[in-house]
Amino acid sequence: MSKNYEIAVLGGGPGGYVAAIRAAQLGFKTVVIEKDNMGGICLNWGCIPTKSLLKNAEMYDNILNHSKDFGITVEGVSFDFTKIIRRSRNVSTKITRGVDYLIKKNKIERIKGFGKLKSKTEIEIFDDEGKSIDSITADNIILATGARSKTVPAIPVDRENIITSTEAMILKEQPKEMIIIGAGAIGVEFAYLYNVLGTKVTIIEMLDRLVPVEDKEVSDVLEKSFKKRGMEIYTGTTVDKAEVKDGKVHVTITKDGETKELIADKVLNAIGVTGNIEGIGLEELGIETFKNHIVADRRTYRTNVKNIFAIGDVIGPPWLAHVASAEGITCVEKIKGLETVNVDYSSIPGCTYCQPQIASIGMTEEKAIEEGYELKVGKFPFSASGKAAASGEREGFVKLLFDAKYGELLGAHIIGSEATELIAEVGLAKSMEATFESIIKTVHAHPTLSESIMEAAADAYDEAIHI
């Protein structure tokens, strides 16, 4: 007799484990099924280990390139690549253990194995060899199987020379040259990391600029900064093919009709992610999918099959851990029947942890104009910030977009030091529907980088003091 649960969560990433914990808090008898360590890509192969690597890069960058600006002489600086990688793995392991503890603490059943839907209420669990090891039933099933790197035939990933982000964070030795295909968050973070460590980095982006989802002015600053660091950047460029010859990857690219071949030790495929929808029984149950993602209602997270829900990366963009968590919580609360608030997809912060850091929320200026808003745009450069000057971090700016009609904060775009921490204030302001007055009448501590947000808001209404 298989065990019955009120909620079964398939996948233990930031969507799944958070959903499971919330379910347990609300008194549901809960099980979470995960084939790997708890924490999913985020904790094991994404957010956390990469941030650890990026911190190494940042420290080394500061010591190597900026210590003399501060009058500090450092000689004989070097690093041990394997130790950098090991530190990152240790951080990851520690954090995932923390999740194991939380699962236990909340009395959630944890089944290790690969879960597959057997019926609308049944999940069969398989081990690594594909042998059936267990089976459970559940009143409600939440699919949180996440996503993985997307691959295309032109770039045949072999995980040796042509790699994905997973391999890129556990390389045995530092590559001499690396071509990064795709200049989204993952691409530019690895670009910064390996560039700082001394790898010759080339970035290829199909769209016309780096970080194409961000505001154009942000892309411009980043491109300038990366070029200054010596990276080679090809935007508006397509990759025709990538081939491995004698341990080197030959990449054929086309820009403006001209074809060129680039050669590197490693090619990082960072063109995007795709949902993990295979082998979990979707077809058998007729669960609707679209472009490699499960179709789920973005308010209730219901799929087209009753009592089967889906959250996180597997239901499609924006592929962010914090979105998956928010969806998991909302989904469970709705199953419980609590009056809860829908996830506001217009107020999702997005962060990129290269240097300069990038953080944004809401619409870009281009998008807002396209939507027909009349805008009040406020911008404050960190070069005018006392704190930024004191810290030697004068690169970047804060840009805020307000709707001229009602004063709504439509979007915020920050590039520069600590951008990813600064965005939180704007996120709160946006979700509380603050207007520019609310921001400028909030006393900001001096000297801080956050003053720049206040100044940018003031600038939108021509009331900025320091520019």
């Binding site: 709705k334 029947g337 829908n342 009602y406 709504e408 529907e433």
Partner: protein
């Protein structure tokens, strides 16, 4: 000439109406202002008069059909010989005749301020048409606000020169609704030819505002007492889109803790524009959840009939529920020997009637009530957050039942300055005004304490609901002769006495049993020992 009869606009938020009954058939002749049909909207039901004399030649909307405002409902042929009943639709309606000013002064008639919290009013009926002579103080039009309906007199004598706000339109206070020409020097355009010469002598158009009541002005953005939080953005949108605070309070919020979000208010505004509904139905956040039970849907059928509430009923419902949700109601009762007053009234009724004063028990009870309020001022108070607002004036509310199913509580302003006669007069007056729709919002607002006399229906005692924001209400039972034990010279004996129960519902947040009891005891003593010589 064919005239289209359109579905009238019944208020800002109403964009459609259901035709519930035709009073005329196709081919019937109708007179101007004769009732043509009845409509029902989600706010009110009303009868629609014919705009012209003529023959009803076409009916385009049938009973129980719902159509948008401004839809053509019927066609009237105004010229008898043209009155051929036909199916084809009429030509577009002609512009409403306006007039040309040829002398005298034009006086603007603004929508009157109807009280502190009333920001807008709906013109429900014009008593005069353009070109009609109007006397000073003669009723010009009727308005409806969310507090009361009332008739508005003309501030000057003259001729109604222009109607700017048509029936069933809702406009803000101070909006000019009409112009009255003081010297009658205006003509309708048909006669324009004759007056072209005169037209050149254009008169000075002078704007005089007729006696706006010296009320506190309150801007739309003013935020009355509310426990709800509105984000700066929502407040901005409300200001820009003229969403009143009352409307805002009625929008169902879908944000954190039911907060009204930008989306909610924008949806509301777009619904208001489209006339879908004044109050968007809250999107269920717990669709098919295991804990939500579907509400049984009422359907008219065997043994049941569904009657949509009229406006007054809805208001009463809202007020009563609001009061229950606000105050902690407790009720206490005391029995009063009314012998003295009973005998006095009996002996003097006809005498007072001769003076035009209807002598009832109410003035006496009111008088005793006012004395008791003076003695216990906390009873004459209201609660504002965690503050007690004690009022040093007494505006005594008197609940009046209005046939067929209305209830209204106008109050006697500064009732403590009135004697028994004065109170008797005021009570009679308010009763009359209530029944004749003569109340103005100022009669309703600012009450400090209320009395409800359910004794008139024979009820002995009740537990009335407090009239917010007051903290207590006194219920008056009927007077019944009862055998009571009295002590005469130390010996108990049974006497027959006219006895009455007073019941006091008080808000336990402020008024505890002790104060309520003291108040009732004071009233009892005052009534039982009433010094009738003061009358």
């Amino acid at each position: 000439m064919k005239v289209d009869v359109i579905m009238p606009k019944m208020g800002e938020s109403i964009n459609e109406g259901t035709l519930i009954k035709w009073h005329k058939k196709k081919g019937d002749s109708v007179e101007k202002d004769e009732i043509l049909f009845e409509i029902s909207t989600d706010k009110v039901d009303t009868e629609i008069p014919s705009p012209e004399d003529g023959v009803l030649v076409d009916i385009k909307v049938f009973e129980n059909e719902t159509v948008e405002v401004d839809s053509v409902v019927a066609v009237i042929e105004t010229e008898a010989d043209g009155a051929v009943v036909e199916e084809a639709s009429a030509e577009p309606p002609e512009e409403e005749p306006s007039t040309t000013q040829v002398g005298g002064e034009l006086i603007d008639i603004p929508m009157p301020k109807m009280g502190e919290s009333v920001m807008e009013g709906t013109i429900i009926k014009w008593h005069k048409q353009v070109g009609d002579k109007v006397e000073r103080d003669e009723i010009l039009y009727e308005i409806s606000t969310d507090k009361v309906d009332t008739e508005v007199p003309s501030p000057v004598e003259g001729t109604l020169a222009e109607i700017i706000v048509k029936e069933n339109e809702t406009v803000e206070v101070d909006t000019i609704v009409a112009k009255v020409s003081t010297s009658g020097g205006l003509v309708k355009p048909k006669e324009k030819v004759d007056t072209k010469a005169e037209e050149k002598t254009e008169p000075e158009v002078k704007e005089t505002k007729p006696e706006p009541a010296p009320q506190q002005t309150q801007s739309k953005s003013a935020k009355p007492n509310s426990n709800k939080f509105y984000s700066p953005l929502v407040m901005n949108i409300a200001n820009k889109e003229n969403v009143s605070f009352d409307e805002l309070e009625n929008i169902n919020g879908t944000g954190v803790q039911g907060r009204v979000t930008k989306k909610d208010i924008l949806n509301y505004i777009s619904d208001r524009k489209e006339g879908k509904t004044a109050q968007p139905v809250k999107e269920s956040t717990q669709q098919e959840s295991r804990e939500s039970k579907p509400a049984p849907k009422l359907e008219a059928g065997e043994g049941t009939k569904i009657i949509p509430m009229d406006n007054i009923r809805k208001r009463i419902m809202h007020h009563m529920k609001n009061s229950r949700d606000t105050s902690v109601h407790v009720s206490a009762m005391i029995e009063v020997d009314m012998s003295r007053i009973y005998n006095f009234v009996k002996a003097n009724k006809s005498k007072f009637a001769g003076e035009g004063v209807k002598l009832t028990y109410m003035p006496f009870i009111s008088y005793a009530c006012i004395r008791a309020l003076k003695e216990f001022p906390l009873m004459n108070a209201s609660i504002d957050g965690e503050n007690i607002v004690v009022k040093n004036y007494i505006n005594l509310g008197i609940a009046v039942a209005v046939e067929p199913n209305g209830l209204i509580v106008p109050n006697i302003k500064n009732a403590d300055e009135k004697n028994i006669r004065g109170l008797a007069k005021s009570i009679a007056e308010l009763g009359q005004k209530s029944k004749n729709k003569g109340l103005v919002p100022d009669d309703i607002v600012d009450g400090t304490f209320s009395i409800t006399n359910y004794g008139v229906f024979g009820t002995e005692f009740g537990t009335p609901i407090i009239n917010q924001p007051e903290v207590a209400i006194l219920g008056i039972g009927t007077i019944i002769k009862k055998p009571v034990v009295v002590e005469i010279d130390g010996a108990d004996s049974i006497a027959i006495k006219p006895m009455m129960y007073l019941s006091l519902s008080h808000d336990h947040r402020l008024v505890d049993g002790m104060l309520g009891g003291q108040y009732l005891k004071y009233m009892k003593e005052t009534l039982e020992n009433f010094d009738t010589s003061i009358v």
